[in-house]
């Protein structure tokens, strides 16, 4: 099909049809997520090694995190994944308004997550658990404990950056969807956003037990 003569809205010139374009987008997103597994994987690897060596101090440090806040945040993120999955479904069916509404709910839940995270960070600052800036931990092995908090802030911080990017992209997708830019044949951007959002959710599914639950029981 010559470009321009039989133009389909949303179809880029390098693709034969929207279905081929969608499948290519989808595979590209999965490849990106595989690289993200390795990006987070390196940090998780560091966590595993230090956890093996400094088990006792890390066990103790983990108990000082606010576990209920982490649990509530897990509920918030899992719920946002449900609303995201339903939003993608509406976009598949061409129901742009319903899709935009659910994307806004997803975005709202993402913001709730960030607020709870900010509350936790503030609490850690008040208590004096910020490595290098305000660290006043008086228990045994302060160095090893400080390293736990380095990993805590690194892991949740990198995750939070992904959340911020996700919230912005979801907001943009809600706008585009509301403007009716997508159709059942052309909704790949919503699908990509969904894949990214679910991936960030999966990272949290691992972070929650590793950071918050490993300190229990005493």
């Amino acid at each position: 099909m010559a470009h321009g003569t039989n133009h389909t809205p949303g179809l880029l010139p390098q693709f034969d049809d929207l279905e081929q374009q969608r499948v290519s987008y989808n595979l590209g997103m999965w490849i990106f997520l595989a690289t993200e597994v390795l990006f987070f994987g390196g940090i998780f690897m560091g966590y595993i090694v230090y956890r093996m060596h400094y088990g006792h101090a890390w066990h103790e440090a983990s108990r000082h995190l606010i576990m209920p806040a982490g649990a509530i945040n897990t509920i918030v993120l899992l719920t946002s994944s449900l609303t995201m999955a339903l939003a993608v479904r509406h976009s598949q069916l061409g129901q742009n308004r319903a899709c935009a509404r659910l994307l806004l709910v997803t975005m709202g839940l993402g913001i709730v997550f960030m607020c709870i995270k900010a509350f936790e960070y503030h609490h850690e600052y008040e208590v004096g658990n910020i490595p290098g800036i305000r660290f006043t931990y008086a228990g045994p092995d302060p160095g090893q404990t400080q390293l736990f908090y380095v990993f805590y802030f690194l892991m949740t911080g990198v995750h939070a950056i992904h959340m911020i990017i996700g919230v912005c992209v979801v907001a943009f997708m809600a706008l585009m969807s509301r403007l009716g830019r997508y159709s059942p044949g052309h909704h790949a951007p919503i699908e990509m956003t969904g894949l990214y959002w679910h991936f960030v959710d999966i990272v949290w599914i691992f972070l929650f037990p590793l950071l918050y639950l490993m300190g229990y029981p005493k």
Partner: protein
Amino acid sequence: MSEHIVEPRIYVRVFAALMALLALTIGVSALDLGLFNWVAALTIAVVKASLVTLYFMHARYGSHQVWLVAGMGIVWFLIMVVLTLSDYVARGVIARP
């Protein structure tokens, strides 16, 4: 290959399962099971992540290429973990000459 549209009730069931697993992982963490605490927490996390990947991310209905790429991500990660731990775990096992 046309895309698969999942019924909402399947999403809701997966969500209910995820919530139940979250309650389970918190419950198990309160028991003192020694090393099994690790095993339980990670097993539950893997099951939750699998549910999200298979249903929410549509991997279950995905093409062979999607399975290949997703599998690659996991395998590469496991190569890193297994090779690194084979070093750390084995240190001290073999006496220095």
